[in-house]
Homo-oligomer: 260 residues x 2
């Protein structure tokens, strides 16, 4: 079946679980509340199917329904998701230390983990008067364009690194990483120094990120970073603080063990 349809081919159904998560996945940060028609359009599934599915999801609390009939992601998912060891488990351990770092630097503090070939932002602390950051908690970000991403990529299995190098596309707001070879050298440098510095020369919001790895035993399980607007102090001044905090979290993590 050629997928002339947006979404999935017609046919009699993918696995239900897959469909359910496709439905949940049709929400995004610009569409936190969707009417039935929106869900139908975004999933490419028949109306009746979407309605039935959405109702079942509502019944278990994965979705909630607003007064105007639109659907939104429900609290049940928050409840379940809070048990993810690599998500809130990690977060619970890291938060107090991130607080400290945030307090001392007054800059954005980010915590991210690797999920396959992408990084996923687990936590972000921001002052309301701080420079805006693009990234939302729960959002996926490319590994080659962020400080945390670079740290995670540098410490990822070789196959992930190779895919990352192969898929690398230079960003025009980054004048240090132009080629895949630059990236390769950069990753080696990050492994050697155990931290990363990424500069963005975006004229609207130039900023520099200092990132360091967080370990559970030997494995790098997350990355911590501070994002500072570039016309600020020398970013190098933040390196010790970020590294020290990352190591503190690592120690705590190794002793407590986030997994049951």
């Amino acid at each position: 079946m050629s997928s002339s349809n947006p979404g999935s081919g017609s046919g009699a159904g993918e696995a239900l679980i897959e469909r359910a998560f496709a439905l949940l996945g049709s929400f995004d940060s610009e569409h936190r509340a969707l009417p039935l028609a929106g869900l139908t359009h975004r999933t490419g599934m028949p109306r009746s199917t979407v309605l039935r599915l959405a109702r079942q999801l509502t019944a278990v609390g994965a979705l909630e329904r607003l007064d105007d009939g639109r659907f939104v992601i429900g609290l049940r998912l928050l409840e379940v998701a809070s048990l993810a060891p690599r998500g809130h488990g990690l977060r619970a351990v890291a938060m107090p230390f991130m607080e400290d770092l945030f307090h001392v630097t007054g800059q954005h503090v980010l915590l991210a983990v690797r999920d396959n070939d992408e990084a996923l932002l687990v936590e972000r602390l921001s002052a309301h008067d701080a420079a805006p950051v693009r990234f939302r908690v729960g959002e996926r970000v490319a590994m080659t364009t962020t400080g945390v991403g670079l740290v995670l990529l540098a410490n990822a299995p070789v196959d992930v690194q190779e895919r990352g190098l192969r898929a690398f596309v230079p960003v025009d707001t980054d004048d240090t990483l132009r080629t895949a070879d630059d990236l390769r050298r950069g990753l080696a440098e990050i492994r050697r120094g155990d931290y990363a510095v990424a500069r963005r020369t975006d004229p609207r919001a130039p900023r520099t990120t200092v990132a360091a790895p967080i370990r559970n035993g030997r494995d790098v399980v997350a990355a911590l970073s501070v994002v500072v607007p570039s016309p600020e102090f020398d970013p190098a001044a933040y390196v010790p603080a970020v590294r020290a905090t990352a190591r503190a979290i690592s120690r705590q993590l190794t002793t407590t063990d986030a997994f049951g």
Copy 2:
């Protein structure tokens, strides 16, 4: 649970979605990683069914599998859950203000919303040296035994309040709320003053909570609180700070509108 299926005709299963969430729900804070057998036992479903379901959930990222074969909640759920307006949507707006309150008071800061007849903890800020708190982010807490719960209950629809009053069981670490009538008066008092103070005389960790409602327009959508160890200063000293912060969040919330 009970051996095999209860005789009621449904030999072949509840709705699949229901089962999937029952499976996800069998994780809890003491069991963040479960082997197949654990899932089988906790759900009461047949082995093969659990395995198939768990695999499908793993395929979509709702679960992840550790090297030792155990299952854990996956990052995909965190990603989806972060779009819940009443969860991370609210959180995103409230966080900077909570940060401020946290820095000023140095005490636990809690953010909770009501979900039917319970309160659900959406965010918690804690210093590492602060007194331990029982409540985890994502956890459900009774409405009559916490500061945030009382605020939410006081501003809930009448039917919720009535169920709360009817189901009320006094806690022996609370010497101010002994009867349902105490509770009724307490709720009225909370509505009048627009804040709540709850004292716990637990000998091991006596503490006092100051809580205030957060509004989106007219509706109370959440509650904010500060938890202080009781041998501290007069809790009344925290009331203005908590109320002011709650109002600041309310204003921000009303102007930005957490829903898309």
